[in-house]
C-alpha cells in the first residue's frame, strides 16, 4: 500500500520498540540504531508489499530480525565493542544494586543462543503472541515455545544458582550453558 500519513505515523510509533528489540539483540546501542535505520529504509522502500490491515509491528520486526542476522554473520569476526555500551544508551541511572543486578541479567541474556534470545524477547518483552513470534522468526509455534522455555531455564540457571555470580565454574551452570561459552 502507499505511504499514507497514518501508515507513516504507525511506523514512527513502532520505532521505540524496534530500538529496544535491536538493542536486546545486539547488546550495542550504536549498532542497534544503525539496524533500526536500515529497517526503516527497507520498510519504506518495500512499503508496497505491506498488506493493509496486517500486523505492522510484526512486519517491521521481521525486517529488523533478518537484517540483524545477516549483519551478525558479517560482523562475527570483527572486534566486539567494549562492555557497557548498552548501559550508555540508558537515560535513567539505576541504583547500585539494581544496576549490578541489571548488568548480570544483561550479561546472562547475551550468553543465550541467538534463537532463544530473540524468542524470549519477542514473547517476554515485546509482547508478541507465540504465533506472531513464530511468523517473525519463520518457524513453527512449537519451536518458539520450546526456545522460550529453554531460554528461561538457562537464565534461571545462570542467575539464580549458587556460585553463579560471575557465571563461573559452577558445574550445573556449565552443563546448562553448554557450548555457548566458547
Amino acid at each position: 500500500m502507499p505511504l499514507t500519513d497514518s501508515l507513516r505515523d504507525d511506523i514512527l510509533a513502532a520505532v521505540p520498540s524496534l530500538r529496544a528489540f535491536a538493542i536486546s539483540l545486539s547488546g550495542n546501542g550504536d549498532r542497534a540504531d544503525d539496524l533500526v535505520q536500515e529497517t526503516l529504509l527497507r520498510a519504506l522502500a518495500n512499503i508496497d508489499s505491506f498488506q493493509p490491515g496486517s500486523n505492522l509491528p510484526a512486519w517491521l520486526f521481521t525486517i529488523l530480525r533478518n537484517l540483524f542476522r545477516s549483519d551478525y554473520r558479517k560482523r562475527r569476526r570483527e572486534v566486539e565493542d567494549a562492555e557497557g555500551s548498552y548501559a550508555k544508551t540508558l537515560k535513567s541511572q539505576p541504583g547500585q544494586n539494581a544496576h549490578l543486578e541489571f548488568e548480570e541479567f544483561r550479561a546472562a541474556l547475551e550468553k543465550l543462543p541467538q534463537d532463544q534470545r530473540e524468542a524470549l524477547i519477542l514473547v517476554g518483552a515485546s509482547g508478541f503472541s507465540y504465533e506472531d513470534a513464530a511468523a517473525i522468526c519463520g518457524c513453527a509455534v512449537g519451536t518458539i515455545k520450546s526456545r522460550v522455555n529453554r531460554a528461561r531455564s538457562k537464565l534461571s540457571a545462570m542467575l539464580y544458582v549458587d556460585g553463579a555470580e560471575d557465571f563461573g565454574p559452577d558445574d550445573t551452570v556449565r552443563a546448562v550453558i553448554g557450548g555457548s561459552g566458547g
Binding site: R8, L40, L44, K91, E101, I121
Partner: protein, 73 residues
Amino acid sequence: MKDFKAQKTAAPAKQGGLNPEIQSRIGHQLRAMYDDVVRQGVPDRFAELIRKLDAPGGSSSDFGDASKTEGRD
C-alpha cells in the same frame, strides 16, 4: 542483593523445571530492560528520516548522518 540470593533457595520447580517465582523475576527484568529503551521515544534521527522520505521529491540519499544522536547521554 540479599533477596536476590534468597530466590535461589525458593521452592522447587513445577512446570518445565522452572520455579514460577523465578520465571516472573526473569520476565520482570526482561521488560525493565526493554522498557528503559522504549521510554526514550523516537530519536530525532528517525523522525527526520521518515519526514525526509515523505517530502515531495524526497530522495533516500544521505541518511548516514548520525550527528543528531551524538548527545544521547
